[in-house]
Amino acid sequence: MNDVKSGAQPGPPGRSIRGLAGTPRWVKVFVVVAATVLLMMVVAMLITGGEHGPGRHLSAASIYERTAASTAATDTDLGGVC
């Protein structure tokens, strides 16, 4: 989509070397919005327990059932030693 021919750069001339003060306003706004969104996503992930894998698609009930079934099978295999 970087069409040079049809999209002549409208940038102001003579501003090749600049510090942060010379950064366009839209870039500053963009960075602030992006940082805010990122922060909100991190907070949301922490609030929901930070679960980030296939496990988050399992309800607590089904996880419990699976764990219980697995434990029962292990106990049977070991003859109730544990």
Partner: protein
């Protein structure tokens, strides 16, 4: 390094097709994910996860990689450069982020689809969908598309060729 006009146009066509295709495929993935989220039928949830896995690996990942590579080619092979203009740099960072998260997330989709195959009907319904990832991904891709269309002004000052680039 400047690309010849014919090659540049071919690369641009490929870049637009793959980028727009990526967004379209992400919307299709989102629709299936919503179906998995709202459905109370195990067969629908199971089918949705199979479809998400298929759309992800067979369509979204190839299109995402193609869009990334052609975008890189278009920036490095034209006077825009990769780090010369803010909009190109931001678009590149966002595309890399979207592709990275996609490639890291797809194995999880495969795992969940495998899980759906082996689950009982009652458990399969509790799987839900995968809405956040495609929704955030679409948001990022739309931002990148808008940047590509509007090409907002501003140079980073990170290259020695800025003045030459502006003169072109």
């Amino acid at each position: 390094m400047q690309m010849p006009p014919r090659i540049r146009k071919a690369a641009l066509a490929l870049h637009i097709c793959s980028s727009v295709g990526w967004i379209g495929a992400a919307f299709a993935y989102l629709a299936v994910a919503v179906a998995a989220q709202v459905s109370q039928q195990a067969s629908t949830v199971y089918s949705a996860w199979m479809a998400m896995e298929l759309i992800g690996w067979a369509v979204i990942v190839p299109l995402g990689c193609l869009a990334f590579l052609t975008g890189l080619l278009m920036s490095l092979g034209t006077s825009w450069g990769l780090i010369r203009h803010y909009w190109v740099l931001i678009a590149f960072v966002l595309t890399t982020l979207a592709l990275g998260v996609l490639l890291l997330h797809m194995p999880t989709v495969t795992q969940t689809a495998e899980l759906a195959r082996t689950m009982s009907e009652a458990d399969a319904v509790t799987l839900g969908g995968d809405i956040v990832h495609p929704a955030v991904g679409i948001g990022i891709l739309v931002v990148v598309t808008v940047l590509n269309i509007y090409k907002p002004r501003g140079q980073t000052g990170l290259t020695q060729h800025n003045r030459a680039g502006q003169a072109r």
